[in-house]
């Protein structure tokens, strides 16, 4: 029999840190977002003392001091590398693996019976921990939505030891009855409120609801959800990455920024990164959005958010061309005498850069620019990011990320390897 398994890393960022730092095991630990702003990953111990997800760190300072919580900056190079390793290990179990997010994947599994599926689930959990050091939960079901329900129980019921196979029909009714409606895949806050108002409080209630009622109140998306809960697959595995619809590059600043020059330095770098991604995926962008924000937690400061979208004509992936337009947008939205906390760019209207008719005004200059970009990308790949930068902008580093307690990038930098005293 075939089934879908959801593999979900437990407290992924914290688990990555623990894989290389055993002293953090059993200790309350949190990882902060970019710029050390909010809590984005919590160990179970940190959850137990009441640190909520996404809470700004300054709001829980006293809890942290009282309980001696370990607070770490995010180390995305490490998390990205361990995530890739996890996904590679999963591919040993099945040719069909959908990378759903940095710490979640759907995998199509096949076994003789339910017992075989559960054994596979346990083997996945054991092997991932041994090979990568990352503990995971495994939920198995006939559809993606049921696999998610199984995953919810695998994570929350200790007696399941992080693996739950929901394919036996005898388990489905009790498990769905114990699944709050807001835990069903795709049910957001708004739908949850609406459903509860109509007496639908659990996944079981939604499964049993009449199709006509669901279609009238939740449209076809809700109907698919109910069908998936009944074991009828509506969402297949997406094993080939979908082309991106937009590329973002955005950061909060380490220190507040007020001058146009500093903002230009930041926006220039964001464009560089986004354009690099664009070329790597062989795409062209048709529009660019630039935005700036003040710090909404600084209640005494004047608040402002500005954003402007401009067209890139002709469509392009050349850093300098995009920068010219980005600076035009930035100058239009920039207001003096404000302190900015965050800025970003978004490239949209993406199309593949091949198969398009070449514009008539294609000149030698464009051809040369493309060659130049290819060379810059090669150099930066070889010698490290930002070895060669396009455009001219002053950068004193003020806007760069604040990462006061980032762990070493053990798996991606030769000069940051794990040191073992012998």
């Amino acid at each position: 029999m075939k089934a879908v398994a959801l593999i979900d890393a437990n407290n992924f960022y914290v688990s990555c840190e623990r894989a290389f730092n055993p002293r953090l095991r059993g200790e309350p630990t949190v990882v902060l977002s970019n710029n050390d702003g909010c809590v984005v990953s919590r160990s179970n111990e940190a959850k137990q003392i009441g640190i909520r997800m996404a809470v700004p760190i300054f709001q829980v300072r006293s809890l942290i001091e009282r309980h001696g919580v370990h607070v770490l900056s995010s180390n995305y190079e490490l998390y990205g590398d361990l995530s890739n390793r996890m996904m590679n290990v999963l591919e040993e179990f099945s040719p069909e693996v959908e990378r759903y997010s940095i710490d979640e994947a759907f995998v199509c599994l096949e076994a003789d019976d339910s017992a075989g599926l559960e054994a596979l689930g346990r083997e996945i959990k054991t092997r991932l921990y041994r090979y990568t050091g990352i503990p995971v939960s495994v939920g198995i079901g006939a559809t993606k939505t049921l696999a998610k329900v199984a995953g919810f129980h695998a994570k929350t019921l200790p007696q399941l030891e992080n693996v739950f196979d929901l394919t036996p029909s005898s388990l489905q009714v009790p498990a769905l009855r114990r699944t709050p409606i807001e835990e069903v895949w795709g049910v957001g806050y708004r739908w949850a409120t609406k459903l509860k108002a109509n007496g639908i409080r659990t996944a079981f209630d939604l499964r049993e609801a009449r199709d006509e009622w669901i279609r009238a109140n939740l449209n076809v998306t809700g109907l698919r959800m109910a069908h998936e809960l009944r074991g009828i697959a509506c969402h297949t595995l997406t094993t080939i990455p979908q082309p991106r619809r937009a590329i973002n590059s955005t950061r909060s600043f380490g220190k507040m920024v007020d001058s146009l020059d500093d903002l230009k330095a930041a926006v220039g770098t964001f464009v560089t990164r986004a354009a690099e991604k664009l070329r790597r995926e062989r795409m062209l962008a048709g529009i660019i959005t630039v935005f700036v924000l003040t710090d909404r937690y600084k209640l005494d400061d004047e608040q402002y958010s500005g954003s402007l979208t401009l067209q890139l004509a002709p469509m392009t992936n050349i850093t300098n061309d995009i920068q010219t337009v980005a600076f035009k947008a930035l100058e239009a939205i920039y207001r003096k005498d404000l302190r900015y906390k965050k800025a970003g760019v978004m490239l949209g209207d993406l199309v593949p850069d091949y198969g398009l008719p070449q514009p008539l005004w294609e000149t030698d200059k464009n051809e040369k620019m493309r060659e130049l970009m290819a060379k810059v990308d090669r150099l930066n790949r070889r010698y490290g990011r930002e070895t060669v930068q396009c455009g001219t902008f002053v950068s004193d580093g003020k806007w760069q990320m604040q990462m006061n307690s980032r762990s070493p990038r053990y798996t991606t930098r030769w000069d940051e390897l794990l040191k073992v005293a012998c």
């Binding site: 055993p22 041994r130 090979y131 390897l417 040191k419 005293a421 012998c422």
Partner: protein, 134 residues
């Protein structure tokens, strides 16, 4: 521009599919990719990690300060293997030994005590290579 059908080559180049402009090479039938050290040292990149040694306490095992150790977590660890282990929340390099029906983590210095492998410690991975710069 040079017309595309005319090829000018001034020196033989293996990059160009091993084609010589003059005479065909007798070695063409025996071409192989150059040796790749990754293939030799890290056959399983997904489960391979590098660590760096500080200190000379493992000198008797020919592991020295500054060496890079290549750890493969997918390899089975058996009697006699060198392993990276976690003992009392610290990483250590030890030789795995089996005697009296039990596994032991043994240090390089004979005067240091061996530690029985139990619930309190964990074998992280097998040390496959140590790289010493000379």
């Amino acid at each position: 521009m040079i017309p595309s059908e005319v090829q000018i080559q001034t020196e033989p180049s293996v990059i160009n599919d091993g084609q010589y402009s003059g005479f065909p090479s007798q070695a063409d039938d025996y071409l192989h990719r150059p040796l790749d050290l990754n293939e030799h040292l890290t056959p399983h990149p997904t489960t391979t990690f590098f660590i760096q040694v500080t200190g000379d306490a493992m000198a008797a095992e020919k592991i020295f300060d500054g060496d890079i150790l290549i750890i493969d977590r997918a390899e089975d660890c058996r009697d006699g293997h060198l392993v990276l282990a976690i003992v009392e929340s610290r990483f250590v390099v030890r030789r795995l030994r089996k005697f009296d029906g039990k596994f032991w983590l043994c240090p390089a210095e004979p005067d240091q005590p061996s530690l029985e492998l139990d619930e309190s410690c964990e074998v992280w991975g097998r040390v496959m290579w140590s790289l010493t710069k000379h």
